[in-house]
């Protein structure tokens, strides 16, 4: 039993954080938004050069062979920066899914992603649209009983505007003849379930980062903004709202890390833990995002600060990779289906 991150895990997250602090500022986000482009090529290249898309691709395919626990603190930092590029889903969902598919085309794509030469996007029956489809070279569609690979050139995309300008959603139409069925039957469903769990886990990790960013921005503003002759942050009302947000963050982060560590079990316990992580992290992010708007007052309600950008990312992630009802259902199934004594918090299904 060891519930700590390794030095390497912490360092990878710190390097990512430093890169994003430099290249993913509020001004950078506004510039990208104004341009309407899907990604910032300079920033993207830097992230690729760090090897992040290769993180969860096996070494045999040219990747780094890391796992969910390694990527979770990185995803938290991507949330903290509200990174516009779909790095987290590429590295955390698409690449390991492609690598795990027992089909040469899929493995080839995984290798190309690891090499920084290609991008992929994942469609999933738990959500109606595909995020990041316009920058993908290949689309991986998880449907009940099958997983399809679609070359991006063979599909038609219809943009579906999200409140988050960087959550680029698309309806995907394609001619069935072009699709490669890379998995079928129970194996397809197993991989699709794991993809969903990863999507939810990394959405949760981003939620933690977003929540912390909202609190940090608010604390900084509350120290600087003077009303009635003192910083508004000296008021208990402001302090206690922000303290409540921080409490939620502190008690969501360990759940997210536990979910990352347990995700491979793929049993009723790990699924419930992933769902718990998504619910707790996004609840913290929801509260922190709304509190940040409130602390910033009218500034927070305008584009004069960046607070709204983080709130909108929270809103986009809340329904992604299983909505609240879906995740509550999975927690409920574990609660009603298995013993709940103390000592069961790290339980594993035994056949």
């Amino acid at each position: 039993m060891d519930f700590t991150l390794s030095d390497e895990q912490r360092m990878t997250a710190e390097v990512t954080a430093a890169l994003l602090a430099d290249r993913c500022t509020g001004a950078d986000l506004r510039r990208l938004m104004d341009s309407g482009a899907a990604l910032d090529p300079v920033r993207w290249r830097a992230l690729v050069e760090m090897g992040l898309p290769a993180a969860m691709v096996p070494e045999s395919l040219g990747g780094l062979g890391l796992g969910e626990v390694d990527l979770t603190p990185v995803a938290e930092q991507c949330g903290f920066a509200a990174l516009p590029e779909p790095l987290v889903e590429l590295a955390g969902v698409a690449a390991p899914l492609l690598a795990a598919l027992d089909h040469p085309a899929a493995r080839a794509w995984a290798g190309r992603i690891a090499a920084g030469e290609a991008m992929a996007a994942v469609g999933h029956s738990c959500q109606p649209f595909v995020a990041g489809a316009d920058t993908a070279d290949v689309l991986v569609l998880c449907r009940p009983g099958e997983i399809l690979l679609l070359n991006a050139e063979t599909v038609t995309l219809g943009r579906q505007p999200s409140i988050d300008p960087f959550h680029r959603l698309f309806a995907v139409a394609f001619d069935g003849g072009d699709a490669i069925a890379a998995a079928r039957g129970p194996e397809a469903d197993r991989l699709a379930a794991l993809a969903l769990d990863r999507g939810a886990l990394f959405a949760a990790a981003q939620g933690i980062g977003l929540a912390q960013r909202a609190v940090d921005l608010s604390a900084a503003y509350a120290k600087a903004r003077v009303q009635f002759g003192k910083p508004i942050g000296a008021n208990q009302a402001v302090k206690h709202h922000l303290a409540s947000c921080q409490v939620k963050i502190e008690f969501a982060r360990p759940v997210v890390l536990a979910a990352a560590a347990q995700i491979g079990q793929q049993d009723i316990y790990s699924r419930a833990r992933v769902s718990h992580a998504k619910l707790a992290a996004l609840a913290a992010a929801d509260l922190a995002g709304r509190t940040a708007i409130q602390v910033h007052g009218a500034m927070g309600y305008s584009w004069a600060t960046d607070v709204h950008v983080y709130l909108k990312r929270v809103l986009a992630l809340t329904g992604a990779w299983g909505d609240e009802a879906f995740h509550r259902r999975r927690v409920s199934a574990r609660i009603k289906g298995r013993a709940l004594d103390p000592g069961q918090v790290f339980a594993v299904e035994t056949a």
Binding site: C126, Q127, P128, F129, Q160, P161, S162, I163, D164, H167, L169, V226, Q227, F228, I232, N235, A237, V238, D286, R290, I293, Q294, G297, A298, G300, Y301, S302, W303, A304, H308, L311, L315, A316, T318, G319, A320, D323, E324, A325, F326, R328, R329
Partner: protein, 381 residues
Amino acid sequence: MRLAYTAEQDAFRAEVRAWLADHVPAERLASFDTAEGFQAHRAWEKVLHGGRWSAVTWPEAYGGRGLDLIRWLIFEEEYWRAGAPGRVGQNGIFLLAPTMMEYGTAEQKARFLPPMASGEEIWAQAWSEPQAGSDLAAVRARATRDGDHYVLNGHKIWSSRAVFADWAFGLFRTDPASERHKGLSLILFKLDAPGVRVVPIQQIDGEAGFAEIFLEDVRSPVDQRLGGEGEGWTVCMATAGFERGLMLRSPARFQAAAARLVALADRRGADAVQEAAVLQAVMDADAYALSIYATASRLIAGGKIGAEASCNKVFWSELDVALYRAALSIKGAEAELTGPTEAADGWMDGYLFSLAGPIYAGANEIQRNIIAERMLGLPKG
């Protein structure tokens, strides 16, 4: 106590309903924070005025119907039930006008109220300044007397409707030596007057619902001062009373939203948490309506509105956020959608709008201070 409408009230409701059925535009108007939408909403104000429905509680002399608050509530219920457009004239009709009726001269009322009712002159408010938000008494913009004019200088911000409106009312320091609440005056000025520069502010949904107003030697005749010189704070607090009080948010708005929420939950299904939130939203919308009916009855019987206006503000703003948040939860993966598609059915826009509720018209933290100090007698911090 008699909680049934009179036959006359029922007949009034029928009249409103019939008129709205004939006149409410079939298509949703574009947002009044766009140029096109503003004009469409101004046109709707004129249509309303044509039926004498634009300011039903005003005296008939200024274009109203002299209705009591119960009929105002009935009118609002029908208005929201019919899904009629938002009121671009709100700043004038519901905020400035009640203050003007109390503090304005006969000339001011005759000059300003009729074109306000007709939509010919749309009003923006100009309270806040960059350093004077919750702490409104920190206002620095000044009005310097020059013969029969004031010369206005300063920087106003968070002025709703100012991008397209015709007139604004704002708080200015007429006594340069004064501090805090003293030496302020409420002055009306034209937004196209020389020296006025209006800079739109993008609000959270991307629209220009606010503006900054930069004033450089803007001349406003002395008879455009509302109330006495140096009495601006008192006059302004009266306006804030109306704003937080009855007329800013009619209960029907929340009842209509709650009814839509119930329909959404029916259509899409709701889990336990969502079902609980729906039930609470409906009950709270009803509680708000009942409370406003009770206040209206009390005012009709000669009572005065007091610190409970602060309770209203806290209650409706929190109920509103919870209501829209419940809708987003029910919509799940589709909640984030915006734009003209059917799946993007306005809940996200409504949610973002609801987030302004706890902030504007006196942040809820300020309201809770007021409640604690004035209703419960707790000491100042």
